[in-house]
């Protein structure tokens, strides 16, 4: 990519989309007997993003287990759903301004387009 900041933003967005997929999976399985909530350790995975390894998915500890063995908390998933979308929004706006700067350089400072 263009520079280290853009590369970090890209990794951040990729990780957010992986997490969003897990959240969607948790919501879809909110009534599946025996299903355990899955998530990634965001901080650690972001530091490891440069290694190119796929993020490690792990069950979430400390959630209330219902009678059918399911421990999905819809409140937690709703919060993460909104949080991931907003974080993605921020990152994409930042990346867009980066791309705008490159375009400005290409067009010689002519910002009319």
């Amino acid at each position: 990519m263009l520079d280290p900041v853009s590369r970090n933003l890209e990794q951040y967005m990729t990780l957010l989309s992986v997490r969003q997929k897990l959240v969607a999976s948790n919501i879809a399985n909110a009534d599946t007997p025996g299903y355990k909530t899955q998530d990634i350790d965001f901080q650690t995975e972001l530091q490891n993003a440069a290694t190119g390894l796929p993020p490690a998915v792990q069950p979430v500890a400390g959630l209330t287990v219902k009678n059918d063995g399911n421990n999905v908390s819809l409140d937690r998933e709703a919060r993460l759903l909104a949080e991931n979308a907003l974080r993605f929004n921020i990152a994409s706006n930042l990346l867009r301004s980066k791309l705008k700067m490159v375009r400005m350089a290409i067009e010689g400072g002519n910002t009319s387009s």
Binding site: M13, Q20, K21, L22, D31, S92
Partner: protein, 145 residues
């Protein structure tokens, strides 16, 4: 991009919840049905969910390590409630036995209505997940502008 398969995951949740709602509505509709094709009163049904991998639009490409981890949901089984029928004394009823009792399905409408509310809320949760992911995809597309 794993965002597109995220939509498939939520869509599997929506179709499973819709199937559940269908079965519950069938129970409520047949709460007083005393004859069925199999004979005897209607028997209450319920769905069993299981998590299952989803088929994504670009499955061969997307079956990378990242995408192999999140599962959708599907209806694995429809179970029949085998509780004894509710016997009511109605001697004039055409389905009454020799003692004058009619077997009615053991359907508690309150129970099914509560389940139906749960199915409807879970469906809405999946819809919100899809719209959040759709917004993320749109943001990514906007990067090209």
């Amino acid at each position: 991009m794993s965002l597109f398969s995220t939509i498939s995951v939520s869509a599997s949740g929506m179709s499973a919840q819709r199937e559940r709602a269908q079965v519950l509505v069938e129970n409520i509709a047949n709460a007083d049905t005393t004859r069925t094709a199999e004979g005897g009163p209607y028997q209450r049904r319920d769905v069993v969910f299981e998590s299952a991998p989803v088929a994504s639009p670009f499955s061969s490409f997307l079956e990378s390590q990242i995408d192999g981890q999140a599962n959708g949901v599907q209806v694995s089984n429809v179970v029949v409630d085998s509780r004894d029928p509710d016997r009511r004394y109605m001697p004039g009823h055409p389905d009454a036995d020799k003692d004058g009792y009619v077997s009615f399905p053991r359907v508690n409408p309150a129970e099914d209505m509560v389940d139906l509310l749960g199915a409807s809320r879970a469906y809405q949760a999946n819809v919100s997940a899809i719209s959040a992911v759709k917004d993320m995809i749109q943001r990514s597309i906007d990067l090209f502008r």
